[in-house]
C-alpha cells in the first residue's frame, strides 16, 4: 500500500493534496492525491512519483513536488492530524533523494568526466538500488502479510498441562526474599521506553542538519552584500546532507523573498543574491515544516 497516485493525463498539471477522508474513489482521477492511510514512507512516495512520471525524473518538477507536500502537510495540520510532524520530517529525505536523482539525470549523457559527475552518477545508482531494495521488501511484506493471515487461521494446541502431570514437576527452587522480589518488580515495572517525550535519534547516521540553521548561516553571508555562487555557499559543507539542507534553505528563503537566483543556463553556475530589505531577517520566519528535522533547536549556533 502506497500513496494512492491516480495516473494523470497531464504530467505537469496542478496537483491537489486531498485530506485523508476526502472522497477518494479509486480509478482515473486527475491530479495527485496522498492518502494518509496508505502512506508509509518517502520511498513509497518516491516510487509513486516515479511511477506517475513514467520514470522520467527530469520531468519531476521539484517545485511541484515540494508544493504538493507543503500543501498536503498544511492540510494535515489544519485538520489537527498528529502525523503531520512525522511526515514533514520525512519530507527532507524525499527532497534530498529527488534532488540527487534529478541532478544525476540532468547530466548530459556520455560526458562524465570530473569526479563530481561520477559521484552524482553513483548517487543515482545508489538511489535506484535503494528504491529497488525497498520495492522488493514491500512486495515481500505483502507476501508475509498474506502468509500471516493464512497462518492465523490455524490455532495451535496449547493447553494447560493436565493436573496429574503438573503435579510431577519438581518443586521450584525459590531464593528470592520479598525485598529482592520487590526490586525485581520495580525493574520490570519501569517503563521500557521512558517517554514519548524524546525523539529517538539513533537511527540517524549523519549528524543532524537543520535547514533553518543552514538558512541562518547563508543569510549571514549573503547579507554582507556580494552575490555568491552556490558553489561558494556550499564550499564549507562537510557532508552532502549539509548541501541538501542549504539548497532547501535557499528554496525557502526564495519563497520568503529574501534571495534571488541567477543562472545563465541549464547547469550553469547558480548565483544567489540577497534581496531582503529586512536586515533583521532571520530563519524563524521560515516554514515550520523544516523545523521538525532532527535538530529542531535551530537558532542556537546560528552565527557560525
Amino acid at each position: 500500500m502506497g500513496p494512492s497516485l491516480a495516473p494523470t493525463t497531464d504530467a505537469g498539471s496542478a496537483v491537489t493534496a486531498e485530506a485523508p477522508d476526502a472522497g477518494t474513489s479509486e480509478g482515473r482521477k486527475a491530479g495527485f492525491e496522498v492518502r494518509l492511510a496508505n502512506f508509509t514512507g518517502p520511498f513509497d512516495l518516491l516510487l509513486g512519483l516515479i511511477s506517475k512520471h513514467k520514470l522520467d525524473i527530469t520531468e519531476v518538477a521539484l517545485a511541484t513536488v515540494t508544493d504538493e507536500f507543503i500543501k498536503y502537510i498544511r492540510r494535515l495540520q489544519e485538520l489537527g492530524e498528529d502525523w503531520a510532524l512525522d511526515e514533514a520530517s520525512e519530507f527532507l529525505v524525499i527532497a534530498a533523494t529527488l534532488l540527487d536523482l534529478k541532478a544525476a539525470r540532468l547530466l548530459p549523457a556520455g560526458e562524465v568526466e570530473d569526479a563530481e559527475d561520477i559521484a552524482l552518477l553513483e548517487a543515482r545508482d545508489l538511489l535506484f538500488a535503494r528504491l529497488l531494495q525497498y520495492k522488493a521488501f514491500k512486495q515481500i511484506a505483502g507476501i508475509m502479510g498474506e502468509t500471516l493471515e493464512q497462518e492465523a487461521r490455524r490455532y495451535p494446541r496449547q493447553v494447560a498441562l493436565e493436573g496429574h502431570f503438573a503435579a510431577l514437576l519438581p518443586e521450584l527452587v525459590w531464593r528470592h526474599t520479598p525485598e529482592q522480589f520487590a526490586e525485581l518488580a520495580a525493574k520490570a515495572l519501569k517503563p521500557k521506553d521512558a517517554a514519548p517525550a524524546e525523539v529517538g535519534l539513533d537511527h540517524l547516521h549523519a549528524p543532524p542538519v537543520s535547514v533553518k540553521e543552514q538558512a541562518e548561516i547563508m543569510g549571514y553571508r549573503l547579507k554582507l552584500g556580494a552575490p555568491l555562487s552556490f558553489q561558494t555557499l556550499i564550499a564549507d559543507a562537510e557532508t552532502t546532507l549539509v548541501v541538501v539542507a542549504r539548497f532547501l534553505a535557499l528554496l525557502e528563503m526564495f519563497r520568503d523573498r529574501v534571495v534571488a537566483f541567477e543562472q545563465p543556463g541549464p547547469l550553469g553556475e547558480l548565483t544567489v543574491r540577497w534581496t531582503g530589505d529586512d536586515a533583521d531577517w532571520d530563519s524563524s520566519s521560515l516554514n515550520e515544516e523544516y523545523e521538525v528535522g532532527p535538530d529542531a533547536g535551530s537558532g542556537e549556533n546560528s552565527s557560525e
Binding site: Y155, P156, R157, Q158, V159, A160, L161, E162, H164, F165, A166, L168, L169, P170, E171, L172, V173, W174, H176, P178, E179, F181, A182, E183, L184, A185, A186, K187, A188, L189, K190, P191, K192
Partner: protein, 218 residues
Amino acid sequence: MNEQDAAPDGLSELEMLPGGARSALEAVLMVIDEPATSEELAAGLNVTVAVVEDLLHDLQREYSGYTVKAPEVDAVGFADASTAPRGFELRNVAGGWRIYSRSDFADIVGRFVLEGQTTRLTQAALETLAVIAYRQPVSRARVSAIRGVNVDSVVRTLTQRGLIEDSGNDPESGAVLYRTTSYFLERMGIGSVAELPQLSPHLPGLEGIDEHYDASRM
C-alpha cells in the same frame, strides 16, 4: 437451536468443509483449553445439541479404537477409523468435553514433561510474576504491555507452577485476570500480598504509571 432451511440440525453448512461436521468438531476440541459443554459446542458449530452429542460420542469411541460408522458417511466415506486406540482421548469431565492424552501413556508423557524441566523460574517468568504480584488482578494484555513482550507462554508456565491463577474476567474487556496464589505467598514467606514490600522506594516518580500503560495498551 438454529434452523437452517432444509437442515434443521444445521449440518448442511458444515458438510461442505473437508471432513464435515466431525472434523469441525475435532478442530475445536483440539485447541480449546477449558472443557466445553455440548451446548457451547453446538452453538459454536451451529448445529443442534443432539447432533453434537452424537458426534462427540462417535469421536470418543473412534479415539478409543472402536470401529465407528459415522452417520454422515458418504461415498468416499471415512470407511473406517483405525482400530488401535489413539494417543488421546475425548473425555467428559464435569459436564465439559476436552481432549486429553490417553492415560495408558501417562508414564511416557510424564517422562517427557519432566525432561528438560528446570527447578527454577527463568528471569522472564520471575519478572512477569513480579508484575502480576504488584498489579493484580491483571490481564495478560496489560502485563504484556508493561513487560514489552508477549507473555502468553510465561503466564501458562506460572499457572502450571501454581504461582498464579485465573481470578475471573475483566468486566469491560472480558479478558481473563490473573492473581497470585496462596502457594505464591507460601513461597515468599508472607501472609498476604499486602505484606509485599512497598514498591515506592524502588520506583521514584512513577505515580500515574498505571494510566500511562493503560493508554498505551491499545
